[in-house]
């Protein structure tokens, strides 16, 4: 039992830290730290910065532009990025489609698509959920019917994150209504410029726009855009669920959010004293800090392969990680007291210079992050996964 990182790992941490210090602008880091929305240019800039270092898709094999990092290196990288308030990379091309193509794609698909993900020429978004297919994803109805060398797609996708910035979408579509539902699903790539596609923004609870509905009306897509065989989309979807698990708990991001919360609590006053000195509030902070400390160790145990004996650990981390993050967001909102109310908060607080300006987005972030326990397989679905493994039924 040795909980220390190796000297090589510590050196790697310093290398990442130096890179971030050098390449991450204070303006961008501040935007991230304060929970402000990032625009397309911010994200493209950060992707390009990482790409020039060769660190944009660390989980990919080296021959496709990835790295040789093991899971501990990945963890250190993610931890340092979170600590420095670097933007999180957009996962749809890097963490989802990329690994899928590397595993299931043709040589031609790999050769043409992967480099364009790294270069930023293509921005991919995800077409999985439908109005009638959320947790029960296999009930999806968007149809793709073979017509010569093409498929013709009709249907509707929803919750498509950052679709407004994308030029491409990967979709799960129904190619068969025979047999088991899971066996009639295919994974297909679609150019968003194709006639018949309409993307409509969905305004979220806090007033922001990050997800969209996508409507497909007689959209004609070359059959060569299929990934894997026809009707093996479910296998691909399941593969994706098990991929890129190292950051599922979001330990780095939650640690940074906790630091912000403590700084805020030291700054704002209640009853003439810093909120940090209020025993009731400080107790709540201390409790979530304890949970986070435990989760940090659970995460490291998973990375080291020890906890993986019970393979449901990633589902546990998803549940606990989201609950902890939401608890931090909750306290960060409450720390603002009456000042959590102004809307749109950044404009009002900025224009009227109401301190603490850096926390202006706390209420919006609280509302927005209620999504954490819903997306990526809701926490109830994660519990089902663990239960299935526990009871073998």
């Amino acid at each position: 039992m040795d909980l220390n990182f190796t000297p090589e790992e510590e050196a790697f941490r310093q290398e990442v830290r130096a890179f971030l210090k050098d390449k991450l602008s204070e303006a961008l880091a501040t935007k991230v730290r304060n929970g402000r929305d990032l625009d397309k240019a911010d994200l493209e800039h950060w992707h390009a910065t990482l790409n020039s270092q060769g660190w944009l898709a660390p989980g990919w094999p080296v021959e496709h532009g990835g790295t040789t990092w093991d899971s501990v290196h990945m963890h250190i990288f993610e931890e340092e990025c979170a600590r420095a308030n670097a933007p999180r990379t957009v996962p749809f091309g890097l963490g989802m489609l990329g690994p899928v193509l590397i595993k299931f794609g043709t040589e031609e698909q790999k050769a043409t698509i992967l480099p364009r993900i790294l270069s930023g020429e293509d921005w991919w978004c995800q077409g999985y959920s439908e109005p009638g297919a959320g947790s029960d994803l296999a009930s999806l109805k968007t149809r793709a019917i073979r017509d010569g060398d093409d498929y013709i797609i009709n249907g509707q996708k929803t919750w498509t994150t950052l679709g407004q910035f994308a030029n491409k979408i990967f979709c799960l579509v129904r190619t068969s209504t025979e047999g088991k539902r899971q066996e009639g699903i295919s994974f297909i790539l679609v150019d968003l410029d194709t006639p018949g596609i309409e993307m409509r923004p969905i305004k979220l609870i806090e007033g922001g726009f990050e997800v969209n509905e996508v409507f497909f009306t007689d959209v004609r897509v070359p059959a060569s855009n299929l990934v894997g065989e026809e009707n093996m989309g479910w296998t691909i979807a399941k593969y994706l669920l098990g991929h890129e698990r190292t950051n599922i708990a979001g330990v780095g991001a939650s640690s940074e959010a906790l630091s912000q919360l403590k700084a805020l609590a030291r700054k704002v006053k209640r009853k003439g004293k810093p909120l940090a000195q209020d025993p009731i509030f400080a107790a709540k902070v201390a409790e979530v800090e304890i949970d986070l400390e435990a989760m940090r160790m659970t995460n490291l145990r998973m990375l080291s392969g020890v906890a993986d004996a019970q393979g449901s650990v990633s589902s546990m981390l998803k549940i606990k990680g989201t609950v902890i993050r939401q608890a931090i967001n909750d306290l960060s909102r409450r720390a603002l007291g009456a000042l959590a109310a102004p809307f749109p908060s950044e404009d009002v607080i900025g224009n009227y210079a109401i301190a603490p300006t850096e926390a202006a987005s706390n209420a919006a972030n609280y509302f927005n992050n209620r999504k954490l326990s819903i997306f990526g397989g809701s926490n109830e679905i994660q519990r089902n996964i663990i239960a299935k493994e526990t009871f073998g039924a």
Binding site: M1, D2, L3, N4, F5, T6, E9, V72, K262, A263, A265, R266, K267, P274, A276, Q277, P279, A282, A283, V285, A286, E287, E289, I290, D291, E293, A294, M295, R296, M297, T298, L300, R301, L303, S304, V306, A307, V313, M316, I319, K320, E380, R383, N384, I386, A387, T390, F391, A393
Partner: protein, 362 residues
């Protein structure tokens, strides 16, 4: 980073698990835990022969372990068997003897020929070292210590007492010289009231605050590991029960409401295991603040997780979980009562708050 136990620890853990599984079935455990000496003196000797007590002491001090992970290895197994042997009291006594160079006592305890306990709580000072009222006067002690774990079976009792100069001293009393009132605890195993009235005492140190805090932290980490062991067993029992118990024509394990509750407490058990590993690693640290913070964090989480697991396990077992005959009820009881030892959830939270960087200036 490496989370696998060393070969030595794996072996001691396995041999202890095997021994307790064979020698301490629940029927025997329940028989000895509430009666007679509230433990089994013959088994204590055998545990010493197995080297379990030596595992709690460093090589330099006369054992062959003594690190945080040695302690957690032993106590996790004690928890799996909810073994009522006075391991906690002897652990803390061993740490204190070691801190004061008492090689002779350590040798006797490690060999199993003598037992010791550590008396710190008083009825108006639970773990409040500043409030201790037992006072030293010359070579005697006067006052009363309460719920001294293993005090019923100890040959020597180490007493935290106010020294003449006002500092917190450490004294040794021979059990025969004090009035020792033994009793069982609600979750089994023995404790004692120790009444001191100008009782002859040997001073180990006038000011032993630092070693006392270190010994208490070692005890807390041990309790965390014991709880993890007990939680693992109780989870397995609950899972088996849900799969075997039929209602409405099917195993109740098929009901999602119950599945999710078992999952939720399973998550907390993993969290408890993680924070215990963290605290065990810090127990050996020279940074006493980091040690105290990690210990308090661990025992706070253990208190919360233990209560959740205990209450949910009883609830999910239904009526059977309420019976003395069913082993699970004793595990649940132990988990609840661990929170009453060496500072409860709120005590630990207060400690964690006082050591947190939230209280640093803005």
């Amino acid at each position: 980073m490496d989370f696998t136990p060393t070969e030595d620890r794996r072996m001691i853990g396995e041999s202890l698990r095997r021994y307790l599984a064979e020698q301490y079935p629940i029927e025997h455990r329940n028989k000895v835990a509430y009666d007679g000496d509230f433990h089994d003196p013959a088994k204590w000797s055998e545990l010493a022969e197995l080297g379990i007590l030596g595992a709690l002491v460093t090589e330099a001090d006369g054992g062959f372990g003594g690190a945080g992970f040695d302690i957690t290895t032993v106590f996790e197994e004690m928890g799996r068997a909810i073994c009522p042997e006075p391991m906690l009291g002897n652990l803390m006594a061993l740490r204190l003897y070691a801190a004061h160079g008492e090689a002779g006592r350590i040798e006797a305890i490690v060999a199993g020929t003598q037992k010791a306990a550590f008396a710190f709580d008083e009825s108006e000072a639970f773990g409040d070292l500043d409030e201790i009222a037992v006072t030293a006067d010359g070579e005697t002690l006067t006052g009363r210590k309460t719920v001294v774990y293993g005090g019923n079976s100890a040959d020597f009792i180490l007493v935290a007492a106010r020294s003449a100069g006002g500092s917190l001293g450490l004294y040794e009393v021979a059990a025969g010289d004090a009035e020792v009132l033994p009793y069982a605890m609600i979750d089994g195993a023995g404790a004692a009231e120790v009444i001191l009235d100008k009782t002859k005492a040997r001073c180990l140190a006038d000011d032993a605050r630092a070693p006392i805090e270190a010994a208490l932290d070692a005890g807390r980490v041990a309790l965390c590991a014991e709880a993890v062991g007990a939680m693992d067993v109780l989870k397995a029992m609950t899972k088996d029960y849900l799969m075997q118990r039929q209602q409405f024509g099917r195993p109740i394990a098929l009901f999602q409401a119950l599945q999710h509750r078992l999952v939720d407490f399973s998550i907390e058990i993993e969290q408890a295991r993680s924070i215990t590993i963290h605290a065990a690693a810090k127990l050996d640290s020279d940074d006493t603040r980091a040690r105290a913070l990690a210990t308090a964090q661990a025992k706070n989480l253990i208190g919360r997780a233990g209560k959740l697991v205990a209450e949910e396990a009883v609830q999910m077992h239904g009526g059977i979980g309420m019976t003395w005959e069913y082993a699970g009820s004793h595990y649940a009881k132990r988990l609840i009562m661990i929170d009453h030892q060496l500072g409860d959830t709120e005590d630990q939270l207060r400690t964690a708050m006082s050591l947190s960087d939230i209280s640093e200036p803005a």
